[in-house]
């Protein structure tokens, strides 16, 4: 790459109390390239792009756009300079339609009718099918992302920043997105692409800057660098892949049949005819894009949403109408996705959070009076066994990093010796080494004879730990398939809602994603 850079970042440093998010970061983004910003959670990617988008100001260092000094004081200034950003978490109003949502984010919105026309034109030109009149609440995550992208494209940006764009997409939707991004690149728009998914960076990007602990640790051309090399730069060491032993499936421990639940909120997802058979020693992976009923499914298994008694059976005992603690007593434990506020109470200590789910199986109370000594001992045991980094069990849950709290939450359930464990997004927002530890713990648990259900949006994770795979789409489960031998294409079709693939070889061809 030669010529003047579109955006040149020079020695940017940004410190927050107790942590240096970026330390002397420098790199250039050339015009007409897809530039990857690669790094683990907490490496400083988000802070850096927030500075580029004018949300945060650097402590020191400078930025130049086309050779001129670039110091956006706020996102509006950044947009005026031609920088647009698609966030990982969308900021859309579900009760408004697409065109209304887009006009809300514009400085001088045109009339609705003209805007709808513009939206159609842009979405056609870039292959992003989008109907301006539909309610955002009815759109899938992939379609919502398109709304955000179209909103950016209407500003005709020179630099488009995308933060973890594929984490909510099916493989087919990823393909559509990549096609759009390539079109944009060919038209001369630069894209700063933030991700920790190495394979997609290799197929999409032609430059990469790798961050670790706030510092630039390497630059490479991802097209001729192997994923393993990039991973090593990103993590700073080579990672052991979780080891699994031979799986000996036992009898069915958990059986869900004919489970249908209406949504609790207007834009919630209903569950429809869910059927699951989980064997002892099995890890069942449930894939799916966020918002397809994962939370609802976990709530029916944990007992937060009671159902007909016979729709959930644990060791042939109907438990569908039982509450969470009755299920725990029988050996069905769960770890929800949302760590702060659902799996753990943020302002309570780890000791108190240990009590949250472990009271039944660990006998931490005597006729209602809490045995704090035993609770503290259990919390300390979890902290030690699962290498939870914290000064001690009396620290509040919110003081832990996401990964450490997740290790505590998963450890808390596993150390209660469950018969069946259900985890939702076990490694979401967790750094690579902690994620590996958690996956290993899940495999070990299954090895010891428990049945495990892993609900996750991370397909690589499911392929790594699961014996069998099924996909959740709009509250329905696809047929269960053995993970071994599954191709990404088949998985994509399953995620996209092709439910009737009894014979994979015969029927996949006819099904449209």
């Amino acid at each position: 790459m030669s010529g003047p850079a579109l955006l040149s970042i020079k020695g940017i440093t940004k410190a927050y109390p107790g942590v240096v998010a970026n330390s002397d970061v420098s790199f250039d983004i050339q015009p007409g390239t897809v530039h990857a910003l690669l790094g683990e959670n907490g490496a400083g990617k988000s802070t850096l792009v927030k500075m580029i988008y004018g949300l945060v100001r650097p402590d020191s260092g400078s930025m130049e756009m086309n050779g001129a000094s670039y110091t956006p004081a706020e996102p509006r200034a950044a947009r005026a300079s031609g920088v647009a950003m698609v966030f990982q978490h969308f900021s859309l109003f579900e009760a408004l339609n697409v065109a209304e949502n887009i006009s809300l984010g514009m400085e001088n919105p045109p009339r609705q009718r003209d805007l709808a026309q513009q939206i159609r034109e842009v979405s056609d030109a870039y292959g992003l099918p989008l109907d301006p009149d539909r309610l955002v609440g009815d759109l899938s995550a992939g379609e919502r992302q398109r709304v955000e992208i179209v909103r950016c494209l209407l500003q005709d940006p020179k630099l488009l920043v995308m933060d973890e764009p594929t984490s909510v997409l099916t493989p087919q939707e990823v393909e559509i997105l990549f096609r759009t991004l390539r079109t944009l690149r060919d038209e001369g728009t630069s894209i700063l692409y933030i991700s920790h998914k190495l394979e997609e960076i290799r197929v999409l990007c032609n430059e990469a800057t790798i961050l670790r602990l706030g510092k630039v640790v390497g630059e490479c051309d991802p097209r001729d660098t192997s994923a393993a090399e990039m991973a090593e730069m990103m993590v700073g060491k080579s990672l052991a892949t979780p080891a699994r032993g031979n799986t000996q499936l036992g009898p069915v421990v958990l059986k869900v049949s004919g489970l249908s639940v209406d949504p609790a909120t207007p834009f919630g997802t209903p569950l429809r005819h869910i059927g699951i058979e989980l064997h002892a020693g099995e890890v069942l992976g449930i894939g799916g894009v966020a918002g397809n009923g994962q939370d609802e499914l976990l709530a029916t298994l944990s007992g937060e949403t009671p159902t007909a008694p016979g729709s959930v059976m644990l060791n042939r005992q109907p438990i569908g109408n039982m509450g969470p603690n009755a299920r725990r007593a029988l050996g069905l434990l769960c770890a929800p996705e949302e760590r702060l506020g659902h799996a753990a109470a943020p302002d309570m200590s780890l000791v108190e959070n240990a009590l949250l789910t472990a009271r039944m199986r660990k006998g931490l109370d005597r006729s209602g009076f809490i045995d704090w000594k035993a609770t503290r001992a259990f919390a300390s045991e979890v902290i030690e066994t699962y290498d939870v980094r914290t000064p001690g069990p009396d620290n509040a849950a919110r003081s832990l990093s996401g990964g450490n709290l997740q290790k505590f939450v998963i450890g808390r359930e596993i150390m209660q010796d469950p018969k069946v464990l259900v985890v939702n997004q076990p490694t979401w927002g967790v750094d690579a080494s902690a994620a590996a530890a958690i996956r290993q713990a899940i495999l070990d648990l299954a090895q010891s004879g428990a049945g495990v259900i892993v609900i996750s949006q991370d397909l690589d994770e499911l392929l790594e730990v699961a014996d069998n795979f099924t996909a959740l789409n709009e509250g329905r489960l696809s047929n269960v398939r053995a993970t071994k031998g599954l191709t990404m294409e088949t998985i994509g079709l399953m995620l996209g809602g092709a439910h009737d693939m009894r014979d994979p070889d015969a029927e996949t061809i006819h099904v449209e994603a």
Partner: protein, 361 residues
Amino acid sequence: MLRLEKRPSPSRGWTIATPVLAVVLTMIAGGLMFAALGKNPVEAIRIIFWDPLFNMQFASYARPQILVKAGPLILIAIGLSLGFRAGVWNIGAEGQYIMGALAGAAFGLAFYPSESPLIFPGMIIAGALAGWAWAMIPAILKTRFRTNEILVSLLLVYVAEKLLASAATGLLRNPEGRGFPGSRQLNRIESMNNPELIANTGMHWGVVVAFIAVIMAYVLLNKHLLGYQIKLAGQAPRAARFAGVKPNRLIMLCLGTSGALAGLAGLFEVTGPAGQISIDFNVGYGFTAIIVAFLGRLHPVGILLAGLLMALTYIGGELAQLMLQIPAPAIQAFQGMLLFFLLAVDVLTNYRIRIKTEGVA
């Protein structure tokens, strides 16, 4: 530049220090206010905080009054604090207090002139039940129809006040009272009297029950699963459901308990210090108890101290009105400052102040 920085964990030291700091700041700001009114601020503060306890001229009257006023405040605030911790906002303790007094008095007067020793215990039970039942109205409406308990419980205060006025002038009016509103003097009837248990201390059964409530609440919150569930439901409702807490049961329990304790406070007041059902029987204990609950950080021991402090400012405030002719609204503003400063400095528990000097690039 001053910056607020969130603490990883709430500071234990500041949790204890903020109420003290709030009292000091109230003294300063209140002193300025008194000075602006042309009164000697030092003297005013001394009269409010010191004289009721240690000035021999006033102490013999004022000291017992502190327990008399603190008793119902503490009893009601303890009940409220359980709900506030769970995120259940009973604002209508005043109404439950009135209903407890009304029902208790009605029970006792129904048996007049019997001298059975069972009458006073019966009145206590009637008072607690009436307060409980009055609080069950917002509880049932909330759990069945998702109404807002703040509004329902508050509006029921005004209903209770009307019932009080009606009873004082009709049903419970003293037949020998020459047509004046107000019931018989309950504290002059042996079987219904809630006497001063130790002479010149102000200690009556209501104060005893308040102290017992403090101890029970302490044990409940620190040692018992129910207290844990109350705290959990208030801090993280979703985690509470995950932990198997049934929200509706907790709402019923919290509103019921606070209602019963407020009812008890009303009963002990009407049979003791107030002495009779009258139109102006209630003096706002149920509302002031909300301040006491927060001033005490919703902690039983804190509420005990806050109740005593609040009672002191009441007695001292009356003294200051009398001695320095400080207008009553100024005294109320002074008490309001206490809550204001408490909430303001509360930020120090969860945040620390950083002084940042270097400029921004």
